[in-house]
Amino acid sequence: MKKSIVVAGVGGQGVITAANIIAKAALKDGYNVVMSELHGMAQRGGNVECNVRIGNVYSPIVASYSADAIISFEPLEALRNLKKVKKEGIVLTDINPIIPPLISLGIGKYPPLNEIFDSIAKHCKLVKINADDLARKAGNILTKNIVMIGCLHALKILPIKKESYIETIKETFPEKYVEMNIRAFEIGEEEISTLFFK
């Protein structure tokens, strides 16, 4: 068994934390796990990309057209990483753009959202969610990364048990934020169930 996902977003959105939670939860379920992350320059509002790979894997980074899914915290970042996902894979993306500051200075262009979504939908299966709204519903926009993990779990892409995610969330956050993050996970889970399975 080999499963690979790409977690993408913008510095400060909790991308690396999310990828870590997935990796740790996978280990709890007894899977081998390898992941990559980039530090340093990525922290200052740049794009961030983590690869999480589970099962019979060695490489910390994915090959082109080989990831089972991309979970992107921002639409443009989903597009940036599109080549990594399989044709039969899934792109799960949030729909709230964060405009790169250079675009405000007239350098580069942020494509219209429908163009981004069309490009993705032409390539593979697209799932759009408003994770910002769902995170606010959970109690804080900062829980967006956990909402995304809840969605990922409900999409049944990875064989990781819910309890393992919850256990990892409990180990990751200070006690006072645990309940809110579990709520965020469940709100994400519920959103996907409502969209697809009800």
Partner: protein, 602 residues
């Protein structure tokens, strides 16, 4: 504390090295932070602070002023019999290399592991030099892990080898090993505080006569190292049938493994973990069993050249398929190249999806932005801006464009001396506080002594921000959480003999502009210490004010976006707005707005 835990954990490669050092009962750890090496020492620092709360810390840790000092401190400790670990990024070893080359002659008694974290593809570096060449250059043995588990195992083994040979050993990682996470099995921790002893009367003063005696001794040790390499469990062969051979090391091994499985390649893999000196006999035997061989290694043909020396069969490597001497390898490159070598069909799609870049930028509220804005308001257009290594290098980007030249740590001041002589242009040079202590001091002495005419702006944000906020000599605390003597930047600069020195708070834009004007007018060397804390540290501390654009007062001159360019500003259709989630309340933008349209809302 996870790093002191038991059982199996998902660890970063760098954390695995730190854990390995702790399992090997390391006595002294020194570093100067640099991506991708920083988390090794940062982990050790956190362990020290954690253990201090519960009693004695069984080792000593230091964020040294620079890599050379870090290596010298650890070398002295290892010479006295203590186990030492020194970590740095690849270019850090250039700084430490003066000590390293002769330290190899002198040797050590306690094990000393020197970690160099290389950065193929320059993810966060000024070059992508291959530090495996330092092993050959200095005649020191080297281990090269492929995964976090191996990073831990090799760190422990490296101490043993170093002690057996009585020379330091290099542990070489790359970004994709240091910043990979994987499952690591944790073993017993048995840490004890120790002191060493200096044995007098040995050959350790490297005057020419002594150095001439020591060099052949070093080469004898290297012969012994080759025997260790022949027997090392880190140099092993995996046989998947067939007559084609693959020789690989480092992170590339992982790509090779998956390619061999996915493409169903019949081959033998020689995985090299101890890559200097190479296990020549073992390799010769391997080559005897192969019809042809391919070497998969990133950057320089370090292994390949040595294989070519001993091989009678065809050797494939750099220049074949997609194997290049520059940039890191990835799955696509290795799959394609191996497929070609084995004559298997495999296509890759070279087309990139064109997407607007999202480079890192100075954070909202970053005081460097205020300094750069003020400088651009008053400096002549053809001013030369030598810059240095840190967050402030991001001044390169528009609209600031306050970075014209950069070589290495401290080069802003040395090159400013040269530019001020070589041209009639104004020179304003930028350096951060940590970088100033690291390598700026000798250059500033040079500038004072020769009376060079330029402006030096020291961007003093009281931390080593880019690499993760490590303390530096300007802080009153050290890496173990102990009280430390803080340098007074103004006194240091004045003490060196700079006549024109001003300390400014760049967040007061008009005062900053006036100070920069005075400095530019001053004939000779002038220094401005632009002092304001890193906003990432400030944000944690206090309640912040939130600013908003008053749409009635806003005349849409866009100065806040086109000249000041704080990322908290954005266009909402035609209106300019401030994202309250990003605004730090630094209060600089209201001073920039000519129409007083930026107001506090709370």
């Amino acid at each position: 504390m996870e790093l002191l835990g038991k059982g199996k954990k998902v660890l970063l490669g760098n954390e695995a090295i730190a854990r390995g050092a702790l399992e090997a009962d390391v006595d002294v750890v020194t570093t100067y932070p640099g991506t991708p090496s920083s988390e090794i020492a940062d982990s050790i620092s956190r362990v020290a602070i954690y253990l201090k709360k519960n009693g004695e810390v069984p080792f000593y840790f230091q964020y040294s002023t620079n890599e050379k000092v870090a290596l010298e401190f650890a070398a002295a400790s290892a010479y006295c019999g203590l186990r030492a670990l020194t970590c740095m990024k690849h270019v850090g070893l250039n700084v430490a290399s003066d000590a390293l080359m002769t330290y190899a002659y002198v040797g050590c008694k306690g094990g000393h592991v020197i970690v160099t974290a290389d950065d193929p593809s320059c993810h966060s570096s000024q070059n992508e030099q291959d530090n495996r060449l330092y092993a050959k250059f200095s005649s020191l043995p080297m281990l090269e892990p492929s995964s976090p588990q191996e990073a831990k195992d090799m760190t422990i083994e490296a101490f043993e080898i170093s002690e057996r040979l009585e020379i330091p050993i290099i542990l070489r990682t790359t970004t994709r090993v240091s910043h990979a996470r994987g499952v690591v099995e944790l073993n017993e921790l048995n840490m004890k505080k120790k002191k060493g002893k200096f044995d007098k009367g040995k050959l350790a003063v490297t005057v020419p006569e002594v150095a001439r005696k020591l060099h052949p001794i070093l080469l004898e040790k290297l012969d012994k190292a080759e025997k260790i390499s022949e027997e090392s469990k880190f140099n092993f062969v995996e046989d998947f049938g067939g007559k084609y051979g693959i020789i690989t090391s480092g992170v590339s091994y992982n790509y090779v493994k998956e390619a061999v499985e996915d493409l169903n390649l019949k081959c033998k893999i020689f995985k090299i973990g101890m890559s200097y000196p190479l296990p020549i006999k073992k390799l010769k035997k391997f080559l005897d069993e192969c019809e042809k061989v391919i070497v998969i290694e990133e950057l320089e043909p370090f292994i390949e050249e040595q294989i070519r020396n001993i091989a009678d069969i065809e050797v494939y490597g750099k220049g074949f398929a997609k194997l290049k001497r520059y940039y890191e390898y990835d799955m696509d490159i290795v799959y394609y190249s191996l497929a070609k070598f084995f004559g298997v069909d495999y296509e890759i799609d070279d087309k990139e999806i064109e997407v607007a870049p999202r480079p890192p930028v100075l954070c909202p509220g970053c005081p460097h932005r205020a300094t750069y804005y003020a400088v651009k308001q008053v400096a002549p257009k053809d001013t030369i801006y030598p810059t240095d290594i840190g967050c402030y290098t991001l001044g390169l980007l528009p609209p600031y464009e306050t970075a014209d030249f950069l070589l290495c740590m401290g080069s802003s001041i040395g090159t400013a001396c040269g530019f001020s002589y070589a041209t009639n242009q104004k020179v304003i040079s930028f350096i951060g506080d940590s970088t100033f202590y690291h390598a700026g001091l000798p250059a500033l002495v040079n500038a004072v002594h020769h009376d060079h005419n330029f402006v030096l702006i020291i961007l003093d944000n009281s931390t080593t921000a880019m690499t993760g906020h490590q303390p530096h000599p300007g802080n009153a605390v050290d890496g173990m959480g102990n009280e430390a003597i803080a340098m007074d930047m103004e006194k240091v600069v004045k003490g060196i003999g700079v006549k024109h020195v001003e300390v400014i708070d760049p967040r007061k834009i008009n005062e900053a502009k006036e100070a920069i004007k005075r400095a530019l007018e001053y004939k000779g060397l002038s220094v401005i210490i632009s002092k304001a804390p890193c906003i990432l540290l400030e944000r944690k501390k206090k309640e912040r004010k939130i600013y908003e654009v008053n749409q009635e007062k806003c005349k849409k001159c866009k100065i806040c976006i086109t000249k000041f360019a704080c990322p908290a500003f954005y266009f909402d259709n035609d209106a300019i707005k401030i994202n309250p989630a990003l605004c730090t309340g630094c209060g600089v933008c209201p001073q920039v707005c000519p129409f007083d349209a930026i107001e506090v809302v709370k």
